[in-house]
Symmetry: C2
Subunit: 217 residues, 2 copies
């Protein structure tokens, strides 16, 4: 039996057969993504900002410069929408109408809270750093007191989230199958090219092994 | 001289040296992107939805099923935020604090309007289809009257938009340059794998040449 939607407003209405509310499905997409688009509204005007993030159990963590508008707005405890979309392919049908995308996405609604506990804040920064590259935190200089202070960390509990996935070939109308037109899927992948050393890199330092075959989970 | 910001609320405040309000810079990022994250607020709750789009001159076009919540909300003329983000690389510094991403993004604010003129609507559907794959519209069956009716098209004029770009190596603190830690950039690219034929594809039909070396501009 499927996990039911957590709330009315977090229920996927359009093409509900593509939706899932399973924790494992939601976590897998969040862990594969690199960047979220975070939405908030200020006096009725929505703003959508790309942000990196990390997940620890049932919490998402975001960070930003403490002085930034978005960190200050989010820290006030306003409603937020956190969306991660992974593009998996172009779906090319025989009709313009049935063109689509293969994708995996998560939409999480809620209210972010400013993390004030120092231990949780440091752990969250570790989680965000290691979300981008596992093990990176242990390789680099950790933030000093001034850097921690200059950074706001926000916690968004995954309480109202949905996943939506489209996969597979185009679905054409029966009468279009005979058209003289190619149909299929063009798979898309976000790939990493070979690492480029920083210009002032000390001689003899090689990129960590984790970067030589970088891929998202 | 730089183009000034179009409005107070469309002005990039955080790291303004990364911002541009030049039409050419904004158009180039929009033309390179495949998917936007569109934000709208309903009773104070923001929603951020991934959508494909197209650009024709100074207008963005979006489409959705006429019955969908987002199309119906947008058609009411509510404020919208349209964000496109292209991830170009992981910026790996010697300190956790200076880690970053290389990216190109556009944020456009405004009010979308439902396109009711049939000629503009058809042209917009062509623009959206060809945004994903140039020339695709001419290869496929165009939408019939029922399909056009089932689709809502929305026009968002690019009147309050900004671009923001980060490129180049990490910027470490002087005193971290001597650390025994690799630093540099891992370039990221969205690449297309070889096209996969639909299961019921008629024999002898090959993918169009435009798909065999698919890349974004």
């Amino acid at each position: 039996m499927n996990t039911p939607p957590p709330s009315e407003r977090a229920t996927v209405r359009r093409l509900p057969q593509r939706a899932s509310y399973e924790e494992a499905a939601i976590h897998a997409i969040l862990d594969a993504g690199l960047m979220a688009h975070v939405g908030l509204a200020v006096e009725g005007q929505p703003y959508v900002i790309p942000m990196v993030y990390g997940r620890l159990g049932g919490n998402l963590y975001l960070h930003g410069a403490s002085v930034s508008r978005i960190a200050r707005q989010l820290a006030q405890g306003i409603p937020v929408c956190f969306t991660v979309t992974l593009l998996d392919g172009l779906v090319m049908a025989r009709s313009a109408f049935h063109h689509s995308m293969n994708y995996r996405s998560v939409v999480a609604l809620g209210t972010a809270a400013l993390v004030t506990d120092e231990a949780e804040k440091t752990r969250a920064l570790e989680v965000i750093t290691d979300h981008v590259l596992r093990g990176r935190w242990a390789e680099v200089r950790p933030p000093n007191a001034q850097e921690v202070k200059a950074t706001s960390v926000l916690r968004l509990p995954l309480e109202e989230a949905s996943a939506k996935v489209r996969a597979g070939p185009p679905k054409d109308d029966e009468e279009d199958l005979s058209l003289d037109c190619w149909a299929g899927v063009v798979p898309l992948r976000l790939v990493a090219l070979p690492p480029e050393d920083a210009p002032e890199l000390r001689e003899g330092i090689r990129p960590p092994g984790s970067l030589l075959e970088y891929r998202r989970p």
